[in-house]
Structure formats: C-alpha cells, structure tokens
C-alpha cells in the first residue's frame, strides 16, 4: 500500500500543475481511504474542479471537499501609518 504522505504529495502536485487548477495553496491530508482538501478558492466552479483533479490523482479514495470560497468583503476604514 502506498504511504499516505506520497499520495497527498502527488495530489498536491497535480493541483499545482494541472491546467484546470494551478492551485498552490491547497492543503491535502490522507487518512486511511479518506482524502481531505482544505483552503480557500476564488469561486464555486474552481472548488469543484479541484475535487475532480484530486479524485483523478488519487483514485479509490473518498474525497472530502472542505475548501471554502473566498468571501470578498467591502474595504474597511484605512489604516493610518
């Protein structure tokens, strides 16, 4: 059985290098046959694509997509420096 660290590294590499994603800041953890994705992405479509690419890179694992979509709030009062 492949060590979970290598599976997580392969998925992280796929997310960075796959033309559909190019996401560098996604945390990937593998526990048994479960794969967890955590971090922030720009929109719901990208969130779904990341899970697709992860599933292709780690077939047979159950993907838990815990990614959140960045909530862009309005600017606050300026900081005085």
């Amino acid at each position: 059985m492949e060590a979970p660290q290598y599976v997580a590294a392969r998925v992280q590499g796929a997310l960075a290098e796959d033309d559909r994603t190019h996401e560098l800041g996604i945390r990937v953890d593998v526990r048994g046959d479960q794969l967890f994705l955590r971090g922030q992405v720009g929109c719901l479509e990208r969130r779904a694509l990341i899970a697709d690419v992860a599933a292709e890179a780690a077939p047979g694992l159950t993907i838990h997509n815990e990614l959140s979509v960045v909530d862009v709030r309005e600017p606050e009062e300026e900081e005085k420096l």
């Binding site: 971090g39 922030q40 300026e78 420096l81």
Partner: protein, 242 residues
Amino acid sequence: MSLRIAAVGDVHLGVDVGGRYRSHLNGIEEKADVLLLAGDLTRHGTLEEGEVVVNEFRDLPIPVVAVLGNHDHHSDKPAEIAAMLRDAGIMVLHDDSVVVEVNGTRLGVVGGKGFGGGFAGKCASEFGEPEIKAFVNHTKRIADRWRVALKELDADKRVVLSHYSPVNDTLAGEPPEIYPFLGSYLLAEAIDAEGADLILHGHAHMGTEKGLTSAGIRVRNVALPVLGRAYGVYCLNGDEGC
C-alpha cells in the same frame, strides 16, 4: 494632504470570474488616491486572462500601479500581459520605479515580482549546482535593481510593491517548510539600506497582514485571501488629513 494607498494582490482572475471583482472597485476614489496591485492577477498567465485583468482594472478614476506574480509568468507571456496592462493605462513595474503625483505629494513606487530563497539563517546560498546558483542569483539581481531604483528615486513618499515577501513576519500561518519559496530577506535588506515608508506584497495566501522589516519599515501582506476584503487602504500621512 491625504495619501491613501489601496492595495490588493492575488486576485487570480480568469474567464470564469470575469467582472465579479470590478463591482468592488465602485467608489474607490472616495476611499483611496492610488491602487497598487501586488501580482498574481491571473491564474495561468494566459493572454485571455490578461484581458480579464485589463477589463477589471481599466479606466478607474485613480492611478493604478501593478507588478506581476509567479502565476502571471506560468504561460511564459509576462511581457505580453504587462504590455496589455500598460496599453490600458495601468503602470507595470519590472524592477524599476514610477512617481505618481497625488494631492500635491509625489508618491514613488519601486518594485517588481521579487523572488524566493528564504530568510536570514535559513536560506539558500549561491553554492553548488548551477540550478541552485541560478535560483539565488535571480533574487540577488532583483534586490540589486531595487536598491538602485530606491537610491535614484526622487519622491516625497516611497512604497515598495512586490509579489514575493521580503520578511517572514507576514508569512505566519504558512508552513515554515515552504518559506524559501515565499520570499527572501535579500529584498528587505536592499529596502532597509535605502529606506521606504511602506512595503506591500502578496503571494502568501495563508499568511498574516502585518509585519516589519529589521529596520522597522511596515510590511503589509495584501493577498486577497489574507485581507478577506476587496482591498486594504493604508494612509501614509498619519493623522494629517486621513
């Protein structure tokens, strides 16, 4: 007079989100006098994404100054993307400077993409294989150009705009193992030597907004996921009109 600097990085625009960010820029002239973009404006660095960035930031009522990030280099078209932005009136820095007149104050902005290598005591050296030497030398050459640009800059206020981080303060929250890929102390060393009023950077999505250089220059990580708001606004004149 007020000198309010709006800044954001890592907006990572693509055709899938075109037009969404622009709505947050409505009324920016009421909140800020200039907008600085800290790189990673695109996801893949394609010309199509460059067009989205142009449409998102063109024709704003305040000046816009940008640097590119590593994502903007991915398709090997950084010069073409920079030219598209310049054609739309957006100033793009590539290890050089620009001076913008704001309410009677000459704001000098120096910067570029920056690069990695790590931080003092935990960094790569120009030693060994050519690949390692090239990696470190790339950062050294950038730092040297920033030092010269700052030395020659004639402005009332000085801001450095980078994509990579010059300090590790603003990386808190990122895994320490990847710090050498997030920035380099060589950038801060060059800036500290010549002086600046503020340093803005992006790149570290899981980092922290506020930090300092060794000489006490304020550093702000303005990556969009860090800010959680459309842009940060920093007033350089303190209580004198902000």
